[in-house]
């Protein structure tokens, strides 16, 4: 049993963790929940030996664990799988294993045999250790990473959002492996933003808020309301805002019409009408083509056949697109928030002419207000913001260019539940003002909860389109994995 008692960590006057105590039993999966900044990553850093706590103790089976350096933490049996997948894609599976064991004699000949049992334990028996990691799916890579940790005889496994970047099929793979690890008698601490994972694989949950223990319960007693209340300290009336505004009708005239559109990522033509005031979702497995309609409209994926028509030039100029990788192209990480927010407006105003910093700053104040970005953050570089605030910048920047069509891939990936609700509310309000919103997501709850109409993709084809209220969650999952409902 892992016993954490009175754990505290402060940086000067800032308390990242205050008197946190809980127990995580062997053989069980303990979920660690909390908003961004609640103290989860501080706890993970302490467990991985990267920082020293200012108070409290950590015991494993009654004995104090030495966490003074990452090396010692590893030898004490604590293994941390970080959120970013850190296996090296150019090396083979076996070579990645060897990297994790610097103290052992390394040989190319024996390494495959050495790592095979660990792969088997995680359900990766079919993977040849000589294969390069780059050929594996992201889910398999995540498992290789976990297997690598197991090779160090870990008894406590800390998994930091292992499924954040995965598609549903890969998630099942990771869940299966996590359950197996718990059954073997390990302590598993599982950090996640996906609340549905609580029911699926966790036995108990620990919730942190503002560096303190907010709640601790077994998942049998958990309701979404209780979890969310513990995480954000208040009741969240509704994660997904009500779409049925009285008297609101989507415009009759579509803002954007796709007619028989194909791209390199679509095997058969797709037709889609997107009306002002609508929120439409596309979903599917990774690589199923469900992001292609967005990319075609945004002009990121070249259209190979068919046509895209806009109701006006104004709409065409007002297409806003956020990719699923905001770190890569969603914002300017080293520039302050206000400069990020003003960028699309600045670009749309052309290359020639004067642009004063103070004017740009003032122009985006309203946007920052609307995106609920606190004034204190507006002068900071985006890299200093949490995932939720960064996503608000990534989406909100488009408001400086008066968008007519919003195209969002994975609008709330890596965003905590409080900020998620804010983002949904904002998008809903924008749609009610007459914007057309089209989002692509692998999060089924989001697709059903926030989308009014759902387009399901399978094998690079559009296989189904229906209002979201006509789907059950399981039904949608079947459409996504099989491209149709099983006839029974």
């Amino acid at each position: 049993m892992l016993e954490i008692s009175g754990l505290s960590k402060s940086y000067g006057p800032v308390h990242a963790l205050t008197d946190v105590s809980f127990r995580a039993e062997r053989g069980k999966v303990t979920a660690l929940l909390g908003e961004n900044g609640a103290g989860k990553s501080t706890l993970v850093k302490i467990l991985s030996g990267l920082i020293a706590p200012t108070g409290g103790s950590i015991r494993l089976d009654g004995e104090k664990v030495d966490l003074s350096t990452p090396g010692r933490a590893g030898r004490s049996g604590v293994a941390v799988v970080q959120q970013e997948i850190s296996v090296l894609p150019n090396l083979s599976v076996a070579e990645n294993f060897m990297l994790a064991q610097p103290s052992r004699w390394l040989s190319r000949r024996t390494a495959p045999a050495l790592c095979r049992p660990y792969l088997q334990r995680l359900g990766l028996g079919h993977v040849d250790p000589a294969r390069s990691v780059g050929e594996l799916t992201i889910g398999e890579r995540q498992l290789v990473e976990i297997a690598r940790m197991l090779a160090q005889d870990a008894r406590v496994l800390v998994l930091d959002e292992p499924t954040a970047a995965l598609a549903d099929s890969d998630i099942a793979l990771v869940h299966e492996a996590v359950r197996r690890l718990a059954r073997e008698g390990n302590v598993v601490l599982y950090i996640t933003h996906r609340l549905n994972e609580l029911d699926e694989i966790c036995d108990q949950a620990v919730v942190l808020r503002n560096g303190r223990l907010a709640d601790h319960f077994s998942t049998g007693d958990a309701t979404i309301t209780r979890v969310v209340h513990a995480m954000i300290g208040r009741n969240l009336d509704e994660l997904y805002p009500n779409s049925g505004l009285s008297g609101r009708k989507p415009g009759a005239q579509p803002a954007v019409s796709l007619r028989g559109v194909t791209t390199a990522g679509l095997a058969s033509p797709v037709g889609l009408d997107l009306r002002p005031g609508e929120v439409v979702a596309t979903c599917g497995q990774l690589g199923s083509g469900f992001v292609e309609p967005l990319r075609a409209i945004a002009g990121v994926s070249p259209v190979t056949a068919g046509s895209i028509a806009f109701d006006s030039e104004r709409t065409k100029a007002g297409v806003a697109y956020c990719s699923d990788d905001r770190q890569l192209d969603g914002f300017f990480r080293d520039l302050p928030v206000w400069e990020n927010l003003s960028a699309p407006g600045l670009a749309a105003s052309g290359l020639w002419g004067i642009a004063s910093a103070s004017k740009l700053r003032r122009a985006v104040e309203g946007i920052a207000e609307r995106m609920t970005i606190l004034p204190a953050y507006r002068e900071r570089p985006v890299r200093a913001l949490s995932g939720g605030n960064a996503q608000k910048v990534s989406i909100g920047k488009w408001l400086s260019n008066n968008p007519r069509v919003l195209l969002l891939e994975e609008p709330t990936r890596g965003v905590d539940v409080g900020a998620r609700a804010e983002i949904y509310r904002l998008l809903r309000a924008l749609a009610d003002e007459g914007l057309a919103v089209l989002f692509a997501s692998t999060d089924l709850d989001e697709v059903l909860g926030f989308g009014e109409r759902v387009l399901v993709f399978h094998g690079n084809r559009l296989v189904h389109e229906a209002p979201s209220r006509t789907f059950s969650r399981d039904g949608l999952a079947k459409w996504i994995t099989h491209g149709g409902l099983e006839r029974e």
């Binding site: 990121v300 192209d329 300017f332 699309p344 290359l351 004067i354 260019n401």
Partner: protein, 331 residues
Amino acid sequence: MADLSVNDVAARQGSAQPAKGGGRAWLRRAAPFLPILALAGVAALTVDGFGTAPNLIAVVQASAITGIAAIGTAAITISGKFVSLAIEQQAVTAAYIFAAAVSAGQPALVAVLLAFAAAVLLGGAQGYLVSRGLNPIVTTLAFGSVLFGSVVMLADNRTITLSPNPIAWLGGGTTFGIPNQAIVFAVLLVLGSLFLSRTKLGRQMVLTGANARAADLVGVPTRRIVVFAFVAAALAAALVGILVVGQVSQAKSDMFRGLTIDVVAAILVGGIAIQGGEGQLWRAGFGAIVLTMLGNIMLLLGIDAGVRDLIKGLLAGGVLLSMTLLKARNP
């Protein structure tokens, strides 16, 4: 307007680390400058001849040449394409075109326009290639080599001497005791800083350097901006070529030996982020002054040319290293 960009940074840094972070932010900004300012002070007191008016004018004049070229090249750096390694070759080209046109009896203005027109073409061509994805270092290196070879070949490796020299006043003259080259340098520095912080093109150039993919998605014409940056750098190099012809009344193939490295070092020593996206042009000018001053002090102290280059190189490397380390510590 150099002040404006300084304030921007102060605001940025200060709010990024409220309360106790302020001290370190200040230190980080000043880090590249302090030892160098101290050096100037000590040199003025201890090195014979450093503090004299003629020597100081010589320092300013020499740094003006490196500085003007560095201002132009900084456009490339800020837009995220590192540096041009064809600076000295482009300056030599402009010097030859100008000198040849004047010797052929053209008025000075026509000769200047010819040199600038050539610079726009040369810079535009390199910018076009780089904006289509070619590596800027390799492209400019190859371009410079081809250019230099062609010019020397066409000129038959002769030295063109101008007598009379129609722009001697610009290259070598002074106004109120200040070398005209230094005035050009200062004016360009102010104009360049204004351009970066106060014009749409300048601000979008900073966005391009900060994250070209994000800039592309929000509608910034990143390719055109890269072309523009290379044209600006080529024009600055051409101006340097013309100014030096004005100063020495001749064009010859080895007149700018070492200029490229000096310019790159000036950009680094000034503290412009080599990965782009940091819009503080005055740093390039500052770097040029510092390097020239250091070279001058070492010359007065009788230090060998080899050692002088060694120390300049170490300085550039040291600043780069310290910037990287400070950045790593304040993510």
